[in-house]
Amino acid sequence: MTPEQARVLSDALAKGDRAALGALYTAYASTLLSVVLRLVRNRAEAEEIVQETFIEAWRRAEQYQPERANVAAWLVTIAKSRAIDKLRGRAVAERAVANEVEAPAPRQPDEVVEAVRSRTAVRRVLATLPVEQRSLLELAWDEGLSHTEIAARTGLPLGTVKTRTRTALMTLKDVLREHA
């Protein structure tokens, strides 16, 4: 790929063109795999790192400066950084195993208790949501209505039903994660 071709692709990537990321993947994934494999020595991990590299490139495309490095070198730098992070994580995990730090497997009765607690926690958090969000979730969960049916029942636009439902679900998830 000539520098001009690479520049066109990196510009397209910066604008959010998914096909440009696909083209970069097809052009450079095997090269990145060779580079990463040399570091992590595990093909499955290396393939995962290559995929993460392209996702990272998507997120960071606006920061890429073509005059400082060509796009392949930029991708290699991201991939190596992620590989090194993976190696560090692996070292930590190995130390934990060596120290026999393992969580005991939960027993079945505990799992039942936990499931009941989770349901209770969800209901408790649900009660704290704004009524316009809570009522939509209750229509969906308690009456099994689809988004379209909820829109018809409430008179709200379908898009608003979807947005409010997603907002409510994400709030629930965040609060439950904090409780956990």
Partner: protein
């Protein structure tokens, strides 16, 4: 002596200039010593310099699946939430709907659609979806480009992730080639979408 399986990765980095100096020196020595290594270098160089592929999605399924839906906007959510003065959770819920055709209404011009947004108190906010080649006058206020890019009447280009503090003061904007331009706008007082 280099291990054979290491060679392609090393040679690629050698050509790209991303090796440490001592590693690069080792590769250079190996290249002097071994005709096989030199042949491999040319093969790696050819791979790096090949024209961009046209079948861009080959072997790309996992990453392509990740790009579908709101996750591809994840890194822009904090900026969007700050612009609209909503929580990041609400911002995330908003970007999750952007690929949903049901949330878009016809906009003020051909190729332009608009989505009303529940923003912070006292704020009027919308998102425009402008097809490449279409033009629209953005309202005065502030605009965060979530995807795509546009050029305004003074030839200023605004790309994905950039905040335009003065839209509507430089004439119509033209959505540039690429994906549809998604513009998250907070309107100045008195402005209408």
């Amino acid at each position: 002596m280099l291990v054979s399986s290491d060679l392609d990765g090393l040679l690629a980095e050698y050509l790209l200039g991303t090796l440490e100096a001592d590693e690069a020196a080792e590769v250079a020595k190996e290249l002097e010593r071994s005709s096989e290594a030199r042949e491999r270098l040319e093969s790696v160089r050819a791979r790096l310099e090949a024209p961009p592929p046209t079948d861009g999605w080959s072997g790309f399924n996992a990453v392509a699946a990740w790009l579908e839906g709101g996750r591809r906007f994840e890194h822009l959510v904090p900026r969007l939430a700050a612009l609209f003065e909503v929580s990041e959770t609400a911002g995330r819920a908003l970007v999750d709907t952007l690929d949903d055709d049901d949330v878009w209404e016809d906009g003020p011009a051909d190729g332009v659609e608009v989505m009303q947004v529940d923003a912070g108190p006292g704020r009027v906010a919308v998102v425009y979806r402008v097809q490449p080649g279409s033009s629209v006058r953005l309202p005065r206020g502030r605009v965060l480009v979530l995807e795509g890019s546009y050029r305004d009447g003074q030839n200023v280009e605004v790309w994905r992730g950039q905040l335009d503090e003065r839209p509507g003061e430089r004439g119509m904007v033209l959505a540039l080639e690429g994906p549809p331009c998604l513009c998250a706008c907070v309107l100045a007082p008195g402005e209408r979408p």
